[in-house]
């Protein structure tokens, strides 16, 4: 295996990361998750595929790689990217679990009761903020003072229900 696969895989990922940081510092979109997939997966994936099929710009010679090595570079880049995208929601809205750990650690005595933790969190992890995201991504609609699933929301939850059934476990508690 060509060791340059590591260099190019990390390099392409870092380039995408730089683009991501630049775009985010200019303006954070409401559909940030979709943008991430575009920056890290779709555009590089399409680019790599074109290069692998057509050797556009003589890239294979410039990188001194063959088609299989380009595939290995793409796999490494996609792996790094998917790991980053999977971690992003925790950064976008600090997950309650991580938030709880942080506030306990920084509390006066390094320990807290449940009531103090709940008081600290009241207002910062309200359910309505989660609805904003579901609405922006067209997963739910609001009609006659009720929430209903849109087709994409229904598809997503069916996938998760099927997945949990495959594992033989009941739905998560959230």
């Amino acid at each position: 295996m060509n060791p340059m696969v590591f260099l190019y895989g990390f390099l392409f990922f870092i380039i995408c990361l730089m683009i991501h940081i630049t775009v985010w510092r200019i303006k954070i979109s409401k559909i940030s998750a979709l943008l991430l997939v575009l920056i890290f997966v779709v555009i590089p994936g399409v680019g790599f595929s074109i290069v692998m099929l057509t050797d556009a710009g003589g890239i294979k010679d410039i990188l001194s790689t063959n088609a299989i090595e380009l595939a290995e570079i793409l796999i490494l880049h996609i792996s790094l990217s998917s790991a980053y995208i999977a971690s992003y929601p925790a950064a976008r809205a600090i997950s309650p679990s991580l938030g709880i750990l942080l506030i306990i650690k920084t509390s006066k005595e390094g320990k807290m009761t449940k009531e103090d933790i709940i008081k600290e969190y009241k207002g910062s992890i309200r359910v309505p903020t989660r609805f904003d995201t579901l609405r922006v991504y067209n997963l739910v609609s609001e009609k006659d003072a009720c929430y209903k699933l849109k087709p994409l929301g229904k598809l997503i939850i069916i996938i998760f229900i099927f997945y949990r059934k495959l594992l033989g476990i009941s739905a998560g508690s959230g």
Partner: protein, 176 residues
Amino acid sequence: MSEHMNSEIRIVIILSCAPLINLLLHMILARSFRNLSPQIVAIKSIFLGYILLFLLLWLFVFPTVIYLPSHIVTILVYCFLVYTLLSYTYFHFFNMSETARRIRILNEIYKAGSLPIQNMEVLYNTSDIVDLRLKRLIAMKQLRYEDGYYSLHGKILYIAGRVILWWRKVLGLNEK
């Protein structure tokens, strides 16, 4: 096509199957260890996957070509890295199904057909959210509960939280 190219194609195929390997092993372990924390079961299935990955390389890649020791190390490092990253992504997908409030909300609306807006806050209030997470963090040995107080036990998730706070600053998320 040379034998080297063939073995590299096998590496690509084996790694492309990593998510499926994760899922199959997780399906077996989730049914076998129902009393353990779901996250710990998922992590155990990932560790088992490393053994399976090495077995697949041993059976289908290493015997086909005579490799220098440095090439074997390169292949192992690459496979280990890619499998770890894909497994990390798989773990997050599973954890989302287990703990994400948005998924829970979608599930509640799906089961009911439609849900009145005022029911949602009652159904899923701050106290429940915190309570669930405290139980989970204790099961994952990140928190301990003693004499009515919660305190840190493990360090991994706390360090992850600090890294995330720093990364939010880099992205400018704290300013918006």
